[in-house]
């Protein structure tokens, strides 16, 4: 009894982002595709509901209507609503949001009667909000329109708070004037890439492949047109560096080049170096 109480207390204060029944078994959530082709899921908020909401990978935040916020006790006790556009009350913490098998705790939600949500509701019946990035980004999530099912497995990814991110971005862009980020390859390839600004064709030209380099050992030749590296398009020198910056120092990467008009598929094992 006592232990249970302490455990419960600990769970309340430790900011456990996710409480899944089984961390390996994915939580399953059924959804419905509305006539407007939006994904509709039913959620409960702090145990109240169910409410119909849209699951939207294009939404950076989660959104709840004023109705849900009132019914589910999302507003703090001393909260007094003022006048705001679309009843926009601001951002609040939601203690618990459930959909299907999935339980998520301590989620930021904007409270707002969004006009687009209203227009959608007029067409398809009540819609009380949107579940967005800050919820699904915590998981390895799958969306399957055929099975009409989503699955969620917790990961270590912590989505940034949108508001904080904005502030950070504003501050850093002031400070970082003229200071560009450098794209550092994980390992050595051994090529000198080239692309004219007037060159609109796919790929980049490997102007030079250094002898004895990992690139040479992989079979690359000077003059090859590199089309993809590690399943990424290499249509600019920057693209090549992005692909290499994602790779480990000794990674083996698949690649495709155009040589004498023919596609050649190779693999390169990077080496430590620069």
């Amino acid at each position: 009894m006592r232990v249970g109480f302490i455990l419960a207390a600990a769970l309340t204060f430790v900011a456990l982002p996710v409480v899944a029944d089984d961390p390996v078994k994915p939580a399953k959530v059924a959804f419905q595709t509305l006539p407007t082709q939006h994904m509709m899921v039913q959620i409960t908020v702090n145990g109240k509901g169910p409410y119909r909401v849209i699951f939207d990978t294009g939404a950076p935040v989660t959104l709840l209507s004023n109705k849900v916020a009132r019914e589910a006790g999302v507003f703090p006790k001393n909260y007094k609503p003022g006048f705001a556009l679309f009843g926009s009350a601001g951002q609040f913490k939601v203690k618990q949001l459930e959909m299907g098998d999935l339980k998520v705790e301590n989620i930021d939600a904007m409270v707002m009667d969004h006009p687009t949500v209203g227009a959608l509701a007029a067409a398809v019946g009540p819609i009380e909000g949107i579940v967005g990035f800050n919820v699904f980004a915590k998981f390895r999530s799958t969306l399957d329109y055929q099975a009409k099912e989503m699955t969620f497995i917790p990961t270590s990814f912590v989505p940034a708070n949108m508001m904080e991110k904005m502030m950070e971005s504003m501050l850093s862009s002031k400070n970082a004037k003229g200071k560009a980020k450098v794209l550092a390859p994980g390992g050595l390839l051994g090529v000198r890439p080239m692309k004219d600004s007037a060159d609109m064709e796919s790929g980049i030209t490997l102007e030079h492949v250094y002898a004895d380099s990992p690139a040479a050992k992989a079979g690359l030749k000077s003059g090859d047109r590199l089309l993809t590296l590690d399943h990424r398009w290499t249509d600019s020198v920057s693209d090549l560096f992005i692909a290499l910056s994602k790779a480990d120092v000794t990674a083996t990467l698949p690649l495709e080049v155009l040589r004498d008009g023919k596609s050649v598929k190779l693999e390169v094992k990077l080496a430590a170096g620069q």
Binding site: L34, T36, Q37, H38, M39, I54, D56, T57, G58, A59, P60, V61, H114, A119, L120, A123, F136, A137, F139, R140, L143, Y145, Q146, F157, P159, M162, K165, M166, S169, M170, S172, S173, K174, A176, G178, A180, V182, L183, L189, G190, V191, R192, P193, S202, Y210, D212, S213, H231, R232, W233, D235, V237, S238, L240, F241, V249, A271, A272, G273, Q274
Partner: protein, 276 residues
């Protein structure tokens, strides 16, 4: 008869036939923007790549008007048919209907300016419903698995609104934060500079394994077997330290490399060039 037809199809488009196999997962590289949008790159009729937001809140594929004009898409009543739509990572679709317009959300986001990233459209239901999509933000790519599923044509609000205005309402639900002003784009990232050295860990030291002939490091007086002690004054004991010391040096930077050759101390200078 049936077999020969299949073979003929395979011969015509081997990549397509293999790549689009139902149930076979495909890597799809993505980028996460500062605005928390998931971007994938696509080529439209071979042109591009262009950046699209993966958006289940959008019922169709939307291409911004200036991009459609640049590609030379034939537009009728705000719609165009794309012959060949390629998604980075190897997936592709043929004869895809796209809505041609510039939703205010895209304009808003582009005004905010993301480092080196411009948005060119929204990737919605009619394209993405053909895949089982997996998102995992601890990995650098998504996985999309082709389904044997033909998404229904979009209907709904567009009909009611009678065209553009109605469509506007359907496009992406909550990009509202994009009106936040005052964000300035950071400059686009630049490639790191190139030396032409391969290193190896030798006990508790980093040794030069190979000096690539003709590379910026070739004329610096370094030799294979030299043990690197510091780079630009930063002590180097292992490959990770070396990587940290050199990771943000751009092209054109001059780097000071201190090595030991036997008991001899040698200092070399390398002006970094373009290469990887």
């Amino acid at each position: 008869m049936r077999t020969s037809l299949c073979i003929a199809l395979l011969a015509l488009a081997p990549d397509w036939a293999v790549a689009q196999e139902v149930g076979k997962p495909h890597p799809v590289p993505y980028r996460l923007t500062d605005t928390q949008h998931v971007l994938v790159r696509m080529k439209v009729n071979g042109k591009g790549p262009y950046n699209f937001v993966v958006d289940t809140g959008c019922p169709v594929l939307i291409i911004a008007t200036p991009i459609a004009e640049k590609i030379g898409l034939k537009t009728a009543n705000g719609w165009a048919t794309i012959d060949d739509l390629q998604i980075e990572g190897g997936l592709s679709q043929k004869k895809v209907k796209a809505r041609i317009e510039t939703p205010f959300q895209i304009e808003g986001m582009n005004k905010m300016g993301l480092p080196g990233v411009e948005l060119h459209g929204l990737l919605g239901y009619t394209v993405i419903a053909k895949y089982k999509m997996e998102f995992d933000f601890t990995r650098d790519r998504m996985q999309w698995t082709p389904l044997a599923f033909e998404p229904a044509a979009p209907q709904g609000l567009a009909m009611k609104g009678g065209g553009g205005a109605g469509m506007d309402m359907m496009v992406g639900l909550v990009k509202m934060l994009t009106f936040i002003a005052g964000l300035k784009p950071a400059p686009p990232p630049v490639p790191r500079g190139f030396m032409g050295l391969e290193f190896e860990q030798k006990e508790k030291q980093v040794a030069i394994k190979t000096i690539l002939a003709g590379s910026p490091a070739a004329e610096a007086g370094l030799e294979s077997g030299d043990r690197v002690t510091s780079i630009d004054g930063k002590a180097v004991g292992d490959l990770a330290e070396l990587q940290r010391a050199t990771r943000s040096l751009p092209i054109g930077a001059e780097v000071k490399i201190e090595v030991r050759r036997g008991e001899e101390k040698i200092e070399a200078k390398v002006k970094l060039g373009q290469g990887a």
